[in-house]
C-alpha cells in the first residue's frame, strides 16, 4: 500500500511538473527559452554612386560590431540569437533602394537599416512601413524621412532641422566671439534630397538673423562652378553657408581657391563636407572649413578610441573613423537594445520596443552625445549637434563649448596666405 501511494504521488508530481512546464512555455514571450535562433537584418546601403563615401564606412562599422556581438553570444533575451545581416547595394539610386527593400522583406528580414542617402531612405522606409517591418535609419537627414507619420520608421541620427539650427547658432556665436560682422550672407546648396531640404530651412531661417544677399541651388550634374563663384564674389558674400554632396563639395572647394574667393568663413552642413574622403580629395584646401554635423573623433567619449582601434585592427592601421562609422555604431546599439528588451524579432513587438528606446552614451556602442530617445514621429531627440573645423587634415570639435577641443580660426586665412 505504502509503495503504491509513493508511486501514485510520483505520477501526480510528474504530471504537475509537466503541466507547469507546458504552462510556462505557453505564457512566456516568444523567443525565451529558445536556443540560438537568428534575427534577419536587412541593410539597404549605397556602396557605389555619390552616396558611397558614407555607405562604405557604415557598412564597415555594421560588420565589425555585429560580428563581435554575435561572437560574444548574441541576444541574451532570445537565448543567444545571432543577428544575421543581409546587405544590398542601392547604388545611391532611390528606385534600386526600393527594389532592394522589397527583396529583403521577401527574404524574411524582421528589421531593416539604411540608407546613407535621404532619397533612398524616403523610398525604402515607406516600403518597410507598408510591410510593417521596422526601419532604423542610421544616417539620413532629410526631415521628411520621419515627418511622414510612418509608424515603423526610426531615425537615430539628427535631422536637417536640428543640424541647420546648430549651424546658424554656431555662426552667431563665432561672429560674437571674434567681434566680426557678416553683413552679406550667402546660401549655396545642391538640389539633391537632403541638401535641398537644408536649403529650404536655411532660406526660411537665416534671413531672420542675417542679411542674405545670395541664395542658390545647383543640379547634381553641375561640373563647372566658376560662374557660380564669380556671382558670389560680385555680390560680396562674406559668409557662405553650404550643403553639398561629396563630389560637388570637392569641386566647389577647388573653385573657391581657383577664383581666389575669400569670405570670413565657409560654414557647411554635414553631408558632403563631413566624410573624411572630402579631406583626402582636397588635401590642404579643406583646411579651416567649419562643418556642423553630428560627430568628431575628438569628442570626449572614452569608447570612441576603443572603437577607432577596433576599426583599425580590422580594416588596416590607416583606417580612420568619421561620423558614418559612429552613427552606425549608434544605430546597431539601438537595434540590439530593442531586441534585448523585446525578447523577440516579431516586427510589431520590436517596433514597440524601439518606441520605448532610451539609450545613453556608453550603453552598448553608443558614442554620440547624448544618446537616443525617439519622439512620436520616430526622430531621435536626444542627440546633440557639434561643429568642427578641419585642421591639419582632422576634424576638431569647436562648438559647443562642452565638446570643443580647440579654438576655431576665424576669419579663415586667405588662399594666398595659406
Amino acid at each position: 500500500m505504502k509503495k503504491s501511494n509513493c508511486s501514485g504521488n510520483l505520477v501526480v508530481r510528474r504530471i504537475m511538473v509537466l503541466l507547469v512546464l507546458v504552462t510556462l512555455i505557453l505564457i512566456c514571450p516568444v523567443g525565451v527559452g529558445q536556443t540560438a535562433q537568428e534575427v534577419k537584418l536587412g541593410y539597404d546601403v549605397g556602396l557605389t554612386g555619390p552616396a558611397s563615401p558614407w555607405g562604405k564606412r557604415a557598412w564597415n562599422s555594421l560588420q565589425l560590431i555585429l560580428d563581435e556581438f554575435n561572437a560574444k553570444g548574441g541576444i541574451k533575451s532570445m537565448g543567444g540569437a545571432k543577428i544575421k545581416y543581409i546587405m544590398m547595394d542601392h547604388q545611391s539610386k532611390p528606385d534600386i533602394a526600393g527594389s532592394n527593400a522589397e527583396k529583403l522583406i521577401k527574404d524574411g528580414v524582421s528589421v531593416m537599416m539604411g540608407c546613407n542617402s535621404s532619397d533612398c531612405a524616403m523610398v525604402a522606409s515607406q516600403i518597410c512601413s507598408r510591410a510593417k517591418i521596422p526601419f532604423i535609419d542610421n544616417n539620413d537627414h532629410d526631415p521628411m524621412v520621419t515627418a511622414r507619420g510612418l509608424d515603423y520608421v526610426f531615425r537615430v541620427c539628427p535631422n536637417s532641422t536640428q543640424i541647420t539650427g546648430g549651424s546658424v547658432e554656431f555662426a552667431q556665436w563665432i561672429l560674437k566671439q571674434t567681434g566680426k560682422t557678416a553683413s552679406r550672407v550667402g546660401i549655396l546648396n545642391s538640389q539633391q534630397a537632403n541638401p535641398y531640404a537644408v536649403y529650404k530651412i536655411w532660406e526660411r531661417d537665416i534671413p531672420k538673423v542675417f542679411n542674405v544677399v545670395y541664395k542658390e541651388t545647383y543640379p547634381q550634374s553641375q561640373q563647372d562652378f566658376s560662374g557660380i563663384v564669380a556671382n558670389i564674389k560680385k555680390l560680396g558674400v562674406d559668409l557662405l553657408f553650404q550643403c553639398a554632396f561629396p563630389v560637388d563639395a570637392i569641386l566647389l572647394t577647388r573653385a573657391f581657391k581657383e577664383q581666389d574667393y575669400n569670405p570670413l568663413g565657409f560654414i557647411a552642413n554635414n553631408s558632403g563636407h563631413d566624410p573624411l574622403d572630402y579631406i583626402y580629395a582636397t588635401k590642404k584646401d579643406s583646411e579651416y572649413y567649419l562643418v556642423t554635423g553630428t560627430y568628431s573623433n575628438d569628442l570626449k567619449v572614452p569608447m570612441i578610441d576603443e572603437l577607432r582601434q577596433k576599426m583599425k585592427n580590422r580594416y588596416g592601421q590607416d583606417y580612420e573613423t568619421d561620423h558614418s562609422d559612429m552613427l552606425m555604431a549608434n544605430a546597431v546599439s539601438v537595434l540590439v537594445d530593442a531586441l534585448e528588451r523585446a525578447g523577440t524579432d516579431n516586427p510589431a513587438k520590436l517596433r514597440d520596443a524601439l518606441k520605448a528606446t532610451n539609450l545613453n552614451v556608453g550603453q552598448y556602442w553608443y558614442v554620440v552625445p547624448d544618446g537616443c530617445k525617439f519622439d512620436e514621429t520616430g526622430q531621435n531627440i536626444k542627440q546633440k549637434i557639434v561643429t568642427f573645423q578641419i585642421r591639419d587634415g582632422k576634424h576638431r570639435a569647436v562648438y559647443p563649448a562642452e565638446f570643443a577641443s580647440i579654438k576655431p580660426v576665424f576669419p579663415i586665412p586667405k588662399w594666398s596666405e595659406r
Binding site: D89, D224, E258, Q259, A281
Partner: protein
C-alpha cells in the same frame, strides 16, 4: 567684380568646357556617322580614360596628360573588343537592338570598374588643379585651359586625318555614301572597326585630360554621353566641325545661362537650344546628307 566680369567669367568657362565637350562628342558622332550606331557606352569610355589617368597618377605619379600615351593602346583594345563582340553582330539590326546592346556594354563597363576600383569617387590633385591665370578681374583655370588646348589639338589632328589621308577619306566616304564606298572597293567592315576604335580613343583621351579638375566614379559616364548626344544633335550627326560648334554652343549656353539666371535653369536653356535647333534644322547645324 562687375556684372561684365561675371558674364566674361561665364563666357571663358563656357568656351573652355565647350572644347572639351566637343572632344567627347567627336568620338560619339564619328561612330554614329559612320556606323549609324548610337553608342550609349561612349560616356563610359570617357570614364575608363579617367580611371586610367587616376590609376597612373596615384600609383606612379604620371601626369594625366602624359597618361594619354598609356590610354591609347588600352582604348584600342577595349574599342576593338567591344566592336567585335557586341557591335559587329548587330550591325544592320533595328536601332532599338543596337541601343539595348550598347546599354548592356555601358552596364558591363560600369560594373567592371566597380569590381576593379570600387564604387567610391576618385580624384587627382595635380600641381595645377586649382591654379588660375588672372585676366582682369576674371580667372582662367589652368587645368581647363590645358584640357581645352589638348582637345583642340586632338580634334585638329582628327580633322587632318579624315581629310588628308586615304584611310580618313575612306572613313568619310563610308559615312556619306556607304554603298558607293563599297562599290569602289572600300572594306566597310575594316572602316567600321577603325571608326569605332578611333571613337573609343577620343573618349579615352577626353577622360584623361579632364582628370586634373574632375572627380570620377563608375557612374561618371552617364552625364558625358547625355551631353554628347545633345551636342551631336545640335551640331549635326556625323560631323566633326558640327561636334566642335555644338560643343561650344552647349558649353557657352550652359555657362552663361548659369551666371545670368541660375545653374538649374542652365540645363533647361540647353535643352531649349536643342529644341530650337531641331525645329530649325532637324539634322543639326552641320548636317550631312545621307
Amino acid at each position: 567684380m562687375s556684372y561684365f566680369d561675371v558674364v566674361l567669367q561665364g563666357l571663358i568657362s563656357g568656351i573652355l568646357m565647350g572644347f572639351i565637350y566637343a572632344l567627347v562628342a567627336g568620338g560619339f558622332t564619328m561612330i554614329l556617322g559612320v556606323m549609324n550606331v548610337v553608342n550609349f557606352a561612349h560616356g563610359n569610355f570617357v570614364m575608363v580614360g579617367m580611371y586610367i589617368a587616376y590609376f597612373l597618377g596615384i600609383k606612379m605619379g604620371v601626369d594625366p596628360f602624359a597618361s594619354i600615351g598609356v590610354a591609347i593602346p588600352i582604348m584600342v583594345v577595349l574599342g576593338a573588343t567591344v566592336y567585335l563582340l557586341t557591335i559587329r553582330p548587330i550591325l544592320g539590326q533595328p536601332q532599338y537592338a543596337q541601343m539595348m546592346v550598347t546599354l548592356g556594354v555601358l552596364i558591363i563597363i560600369e560594373n567592371a570598374i566597380i569590381w576593379i576600383f570600387g564604387g567610391e569617387f576618385r580624384s587627382l590633385n595635380t600641381s595645377y588643379t586649382t591654379a588660375a591665370i588672372a585676366l582682369g578681374n576674371t580667372k582662367v583655370s589652368v587645368a581647363r585651359l590645358l584640357a581645352a588646348g589638348a582637345a583642340v589639338v586632338i580634334l585638329s589632328a582628327l580633322f587632318l586625318f579624315l581629310h588628308r589621308t586615304d584611310l580618313g577619306r575612306a572613313v568619310r566616304a563610308c559615312a556619306d555614301e556607304p554603298e558607293s564606298a563599297q562599290s569602289v572597293g572600300i572594306d566597310l567592315n575594316k572602316v567600321f572597326v577603325i571608326a569605332f576604335i578611333l571613337g573609343s580613343i577620343l573618349a579615352g583621351m577626353a577622360g584623361c585630360i579632364v582628370m586634373p579638375f574632375q572627380v570620377c566614379c563608375p557612374s561618371s559616364g552617364v552625364d558625358a554621353v547625355v551631353k554628347a548626344f545633345i551636342i551631336v544633335v545640335v551640331g549635326g550627326l556625323g560631323s566633326i566641325p558640327g561636334a566642335l560648334v555644338g560643343g561650344l554652343l552647349v558649353g557657352i549656353t550652359e555657362s552663361v545661362a548659369s551666371v545670368l539666371s541660375s545653374p538649374a535653369s542652365a540645363l533647361v536653356i540647353v535643352f531649349a537650344l536643342l529644341i530650337v535647333v531641331v525645329a530649325w534644322r532637324p539634322s543639326g547645324i552641320f548636317s550631312r546628307a545621307r
